[in-house]
Symmetry: D2
C-alpha cells in the first residue's frame, strides 16, 4: 500500500499528455448531471450546472466520491454552462455563467488536490449551433468559458458531447488558443455524427483541428462506445495521424439505439433504471476499452462512483494499485465473505458474478424498445433556440406528433 501511495504521488506532477505518452491508464470520472439530478441538485430537461454555485457541498462530495473510486481527472461541473444555454427555455438565473464556471473550477481543484487528479475544463454543444448561428457567434460562446478556465488555470480542456463534428471542430479551435492540451469527444455511435460523417472521418477532423485526445462520450452504452472509438482509431491511423483515445460512455445498456442514442429511447430520461449497468458489466467494459488501445477510460450519464471503482479494480493489475474506495469493496465482491447467510458468502467469487444473467424483476416489460426517430438535425425548426418555456399549445402539438412516430 505504501508503494501504491508513492506511485500516486509521483504521478501527480505529470500532465495529461505526459501520462498518456508514458502509456499510463487515465481513469475519468462519471457524469454529474444525472448523478446530481438523482441527488436533487440538477433539473432534468435544462440539465444545467447552477448547483456548482448554489450547493457546493453536494458537488464537492460527488467529486470526492469519484476521486476515491480511482478517477484521475476531475472535470469541472460546467456542462451546458454556456450563456446561451443557461438562458434557454425559461431558465431565469440569479447567477451569471461566469460565476457558475468559476465555482465549478474551484470545487474541481479543491478535490483534485486531495489526491492524484488533474482538473479538466469542459465545454459542450450549444443551442446557438443548432439554431444556425455563425461560427463566430458560437466560438465567442466557447471563448467566454475558456476565459474562466484560463483564469482558474485548469490542467487541460475537454470539448465534449457534440452531435455534429463541425461544432466540435470549432470548439477545439477555440480551446487550442489557450496552449493547454485539448481532448474532444463526440456523442456519436458507429453510424457517425448527425450530418452523416463516419466516426473515422470525425476523428480525423478533430485531430487536424488540434485535439491531442479524441473519442466519444455519452449517448451509447460502453461496448458500443468502444466500438465507435475503434472506428475512430482506424480512421486516424489510416490518415497517417496520431492521437490518444478516450471513452466516456453511458452506464445504461442501449442495444436498441439508433444514431441519436439514448435520447431517442422511450425511457429517456426518467425510466432508464432497468438499463443501469452492474459493476461487473463495468469490468468487461474496462477490459475491452483497454484491449482496444484506449487509455483514457471514464464515464458519463448514469455512472455512480461504484462504476468508476469497478473500472479501477479491473485495471488494477495494469496500474499497480487499487483506489481508496476499494477498502470498502474487495475485488470481485470479496466483502461478501463476511455475509451472515452462507449462500451469499458463496457468491464471493469472480465466476459467479461474471456468468450471472441478472433478471429485471419486470415480467410485464420487454427487453428492448423502439426508439423515436424524428431524425432532425442542425437548423431544423424543431431545434431552434427558444428562450421561453414551451407553451401549452406547443406541448399539445408535440404530444400529437409523438404518437405518430
Amino acid at each position: 500500500m505504501k508503494q501504491v501511495l508513492e506511485k500516486q504521488k509521483k504521478a501527480k506532477s505529470s500532465g495529461i499528455l505526459e501520462r498518456l505518452n508514458a502509456g499510463e491508464i487515465v481513469i475519468g470520472d462519471g457524469g454529474f448531471v444525472f448523478a446530481l439530478e438523482k441527488r436533487g441538485y440538477v433539473k432534468a430537461g435544462p440539465w444545467t450546472p447552477e448547483a456548482a454555485a448554489e450547493h457546493p457541498e453536494a458537488v464537492r462530495q460527488l467529486h470526492r466520491e469519484f476521486l476515491r473510486a480511482g478517477a484521475n481527472v476531475m472535470q469541472t461541473f460546467t456542462f451546458y454552462a454556456s450563456d446561451d444555454k443557461l438562458e434557454n427555455r425559461g431558465n431565469k438565473l440569479a447567477l451569471t455563467g461566469a460565476q457558475i464556471n468559476e465555482a465549478a473550477c474551484d470545487l474541481a481543484r479543491e478535490v483534485a488536490n486531495e489526491g492524484d487528479a488533474l482538473v479538466a475544463g469542459g465545454v459542450s454543444q450549444t443551442p446557438s449551433y443548432l439554431s444556425c448561428k455563425s461560427d463566430k457567434e458560437v466560438k465567442a460562446i466557447f471563448k467566454k468559458q475558456l476565459d474562466v478556465f484560463t483564469k482558474k488555470n485548469v490542467d487541460f480542456l475537454i470539448a465534449e458531447y457534440f452531435e455534429h463534428v463541425e461544432e466540435a471542430v470549432w470548439a477545439v479551435e477555440v480551446l487550442k488558443g489557450s496552449g493547454k492540451p485539448v481532448a474532444a469527444t463526440l456523442c456519436i455511435g458507429p453510424e457517425g455524427d448527425m450530418h452523416g460523417n463516419s466516426p473515422g472521418d470525425c476523428a480525423v477532423k478533430l485531430v487536424k483541428a488540434g485535439a491531442q485526445i479524441v473519442g466519444v462520450n455519452c449517448h451509447f452504452d460502453p461496448l458500443t462506445c468502444v466500438k465507435t472509438v475503434k472506428l475512430m482509431k482506424e480512421g486516424v491511423e489510416k490518415a497517417g495521424l496520431k492521437a490518444h483515445y478516450m471513452v466516456q460512455p453511458l452506464a445504461f445498456h442501449t442495444p436498441d439505439c439508433n444514431c441519436q442514442g439514448f435520447i431517442d429511447l422511450p425511457e429517456f430520461p426518467f425510466a432508464l433504471e432497468p438499463r443501469i449497468l452492474t459493476r461487473w458489466d463495468m469490468h468487461q467494459y474496462a477490459r475491452e476499452a483497454y484491449n482496444a488501445g484506449i487509455r483514457y477510460i471514464g464515464g458519463c450519464c448514469g455512472y455512480e462512483p461504484y462504476h468508476i471503482r469497478a473500472v479501477s479494480e479491473e485495471l488494477a493489475p495494469e496500474r499497480g494499485f487499487l483506489p481508496a474506495a476499494s477498502e470498502k469493496h474487495g475485488m470481485w465482491g470479496a466483502g461478501l465473505e463476511m455475509h451472515t447467510k452462507p449462500w451469499v458468502r458463496a457468491r464471493a467469487r469472480r465466476d459467479y458474478w461474471q456468468n450471472l444473467k441478472p433478471a429485471s424483476g419486470r415480467p410485464l416489460c420487454p427487453s428492448m424498445s423502439t426508439p423515436a426517430s424524428w431524425g432532425v438535425t442542425r437548423g431544423h425548426a424543431d431545434l431552434m433556440q427558444q428562450k421561453e418555456a414551451t407553451s401549452k399549445d406547443q406541448l399539445k402539438q408535440l404530444f400529437d406528433r409523438s404518437k405518430n412516430h
Copy 2:
C-alpha cells in the same frame, strides 16, 4: 411557497406520535448501507456503519439529500452497529461501537435541525440471536445502543430489520424502557417470519410488547410490503388493538422472492440494477401505501434521494407542500418542457410516464430468477456467529453446496 414553509415550521415542534395521531403523513428516509456502498463508504457483506465516524461528510450529505427530498425522519446511521455484529467475521475496528453510534446521532441531529425532521435511533437484528444466545444476552446488546440514543436524546426509536418476531419483541421491550415512542418493523413478506408466524400474528405481538408503530422494512418490493402491512393491520384490528402503520420497502422489484426476500435472489447484492424502481413506480407505491391506511411511508435498501422525492410529490396534494428538491424536478417530469429535443419535451406529462413499460436493454437476460432456498433459520449451524473471516475451505464447501441448490 411561503405557506409551505410555515406549515413545515409548525410541524417541527411535534413528535412522531403527535403527527401520526393528527393524521399527518410522515415520510421516512431511504436506506443508507446500499446508497453509501455505491458511494464508496460501506462494505457490502458486513454492511456496518463505521462511516458515521470515519467519513462524516459523506453521511451528512446523504442525510441532507433525503431531507431535501421531503423526509421527516433522519434515522441514525446505526444499522448493524451492535458490538457483536461489528466484531463479526473478521472485521477489526479501530472504533468502538459507542463511538460509531454517537457520531451517527450527532449527524442525524445536525441535519434534522436544517429542516422539519425528527431523529430516530435504530437497532436491528443481531448475530447473537441467530447463534441462540439467551434473551438476556441479546437484550444487553440492544441496551448498549439504547444508552447512546438516550444520552443523545433522539426523538423516537425504531427496532427494524428483524427476520424473527421473537427477537423484535425483545428489542421493543428494551427500547420501551426509555419512555420514548417505539416503532418496530420486520423484514418479512406476506408469508410471515422465519419461524412461520403470520404478519397479523407478528404485528399483534409487537403491539402487545409496546410498539406504537408497526410495519415492515427491507427484503421485498414496495407493493409486496404494502400487502404485508395490510395483513398486519387486519391482525391488529381483529385483536381489538390499535397502532400506527409504517412501511420502508426496497427500491427493487422482487416478484420472484420467497419468504427470505431479496437475500435469496441470485442478483443479491451486486447485480440488482435491472430491478431498481423508477420514480414512477414510487408514485404508485406512495398512493397504494396511503390508500392502505399507512401513514409512515419511507424506504430502505436501493432508495436514492429521488425515490423519496417521488413519494413526496405523489403525496403533495395531501400534505399541501412540495419538498425543496422539487425545485429541481417538477411534478411528473415537468422540467422536460425545457429539453432541447421536441420529442423529449413531449414526454413532460403524467400519462406518458405512468403507462410506460421500461425495457431492460438486456435481451440475453430473463425477467425473473429462481431464488436460493436454503431455508435455514435461527440456530442452524450455517448461521452461527463466527468472528473470523470465512476460510478458503469453508468457501469451497459453500460453492459446491450452492450449485446443488
Copy 3:
C-alpha cells in the same frame, strides 16, 4: 420390440377401469379444436366440430397421429357438439348434431382399432347452463349426445371442460345412466371453479355423483393442472372416497392466469405461439403428473402429436415400451446424432435440452401479460345465449369496455 407389441396387444382387451385398477398408465390424446383450427378445419370462436362430418380425412389423420404418438384413448371429436351450442351465435349448419356426433364416433373407432386405444365419448359445458336453463333442460342436451355414444358403443365417457362443478355434476348424472365408466374433468385452476368451490370440494362432488375418474383439463398449463389435481386428490382422500385421477392440460405456459385461465390472456386465442411448450417441458410434466399419483395423462388445447410422444417417451421406463412415432425421434433427441453440423450433433443429449432456457426471439415483447378480469359467471347478462352473430353495435360496446379493463 416384439415384446412391446405383445404388451400392447394384451392391453387391448381391457377397459379404462381395468387398466387404471391394474396400475397402468393411460395416455390421453391432445385437443382437436386448436390443432384442427391450425390445419384449417375448425373455426376459432364457435370452436365446433363439424369437420368430423365435413372433412373426415383430416380428423382421421389427427387421430392417427396421436395414436402413433402413444395415446391409449381416442376421444370422439364431439367438443361443443351439443345442439344448443351448434346453433349458437349465427352458426347455420347443414348438418344435424346427431350426424356430427355419429361421424366423430366412427372416426375414433376406426383409428382406435389400428392400435391399442379405447374410444371415449365426450360432452362439455353448454351455453344453456350459462343462460340459467334448468337442470332438466341442460340434462336433456347431454342425453341427446349420450344416445349417440350408446348407439355407437363407445368404451367410456368423459364429461370435460366445465367451469362450474354444478353443471359437471349434472353431466355425470346423465352419463352414469349408460352403465359405462365415467370420467369428469373441470377447466379450473388451484383457485377452484367459477362459483368459488375449491378443487377438493369439486372433486368430492364429482365422485359422489358417480365419476370414477376425476381431474382437470384445458385452461391452465401442465404444472398448474397437476397442482390442481393434487388438491382434488387431497379433497377426495380427506372425504374417505376413492377415485382415479386424470389431467389433460394446455400446451401453453400460463404463469400469469387468474381463475378463468387462458381465456383471459390477451393472447387468447390467436397469439399464443410464444407460450407453446417444448417437448422437454412435456417430459417434466409427465414426470410430475406421474409422481403426483395421476395415471391418466393426456393433453388439451395446444397439443400437437409430438407433445404426446414426449409424454410417452418420458414414461417409457414405467410402461415398458415406446410409441410407434418414436422411430422418427429417439429419446432425448437421439436423431440429432445424424445431423450434418457437428455443433448440432453435440445437442443429442438429455442434459442439453433439460437445462436450456429457450429464448423467445421477441425483444419487444414481455414475458407475462395482465389477464382480463371481467369476473362474470353463470347468469350474468354478458354470458346469455344468443343465436345471432354479435352485431356491430354490440361489438363497439365491447371494444370500449375492454379498454377500461
Copy 4:
C-alpha cells in the same frame, strides 16, 4: 365466391412463368420436414423424406392443408432425397431414392389436381458438396433426382436450401437441361453465403446460370429474408439482368442469428417453440414481401397451414379471393364474434391483433440467445460425409468442444 372459383379455374392452365409474367402473386407452401416431424413422420437430424413412400396419407394430408390455405405450388416432398444424403449417417433404408422421389411426385400431383396448384420438383444441398466432391459427382446426384421429375412431368423445378452459391449454380445448370422453368433459393441472410458472396452477387450468379426465379428460403425469419431478397434484387438490377423473386422463410423469429442462421441457435431444432410466428406476424411479412416486389411468397421450416392462410388473407385484396380454409377463420379473426365470452368477442378486430405484443409466459427465459459460431464451411473436416452414425467418442469430443464455444 363463384367469381373466385372461376378466377381459380382460369389460373389453372398457366405455368409458373406465365403467372409471374402476368404480375400474379404465387403463394408457396410451407416446409414439410418440420411439420411432419411434429406429426411423427420425419426424423429430425437426418431430415429425410422417406415418409412420402412409407406414410403417403400423412404427406397427402399436409399437401391438402397447404392447398386449402391458398398455396399455388405443391413442392414434391423430396428434400434431402439425394442418394448420398439418404445413405448418410447410419440411415439404412429399405427404399431406394428413386422410389421416394417418385412417391413424392405422385402425391404432389394428386393434391395439386384438387385445386389451382402447380407441382415443383425440388433438389437441395448435398453432403457430397460439403465433402469436396467434384462438380461432376455432385451434378450426377442432381441428375438422378431430375430424371424422376422429368419422368413424372412436374411443372417446374426448384433448387433450394443451398449455403454455398457455387453448389446452387451447379444445381441450376443440371436442372436447366430439362427445359422446364427453374427457381433457385439460397438459405442465406444479408451477410451472404458461407463463402462470403454477397446476396447481390449470389443472385447474379444464379440468374446467369439460367434461373428465372431467385431468392432465399429457410434459415432466417421472414423480415430478414425479405431484406436479403431486396439485396438480391438490387444486385440483379444493377447487373442489368432480369428475374422474378421468391421468398420462403422460417416461421421462427431469429433476430439473434449470425450468417449460419437458425442452425446456430441453441434452441435448434427442438426448443424453437417460443419463436414461432403468429398469424399476425405473417400478415406483416406478406405485405412487406409484396411491397418489396417479391411475387412468389411462401414458407419453409416452422410453417403450419394457418401461416400460409394468413399470407393468403393479407394478399386477398390483390388476388381477389380468399382460400378455402378461410371459411374456417374470417379476416382478422372475425370468427371470434361468435365466442361465448364478451371480452374475447371484443378481440374480433384488426387493431387488437396488430398492436398486441404477445408474452412468452416464460419469465425465466431471455428474449435472445447467443448463437454458436463454429464458422466451418465446405471442406472442413467437421463437415465431411460419414456414413456411420456418430460414435460415442465422437459425441463426447463434440460436447466438450461445444462448451467452449
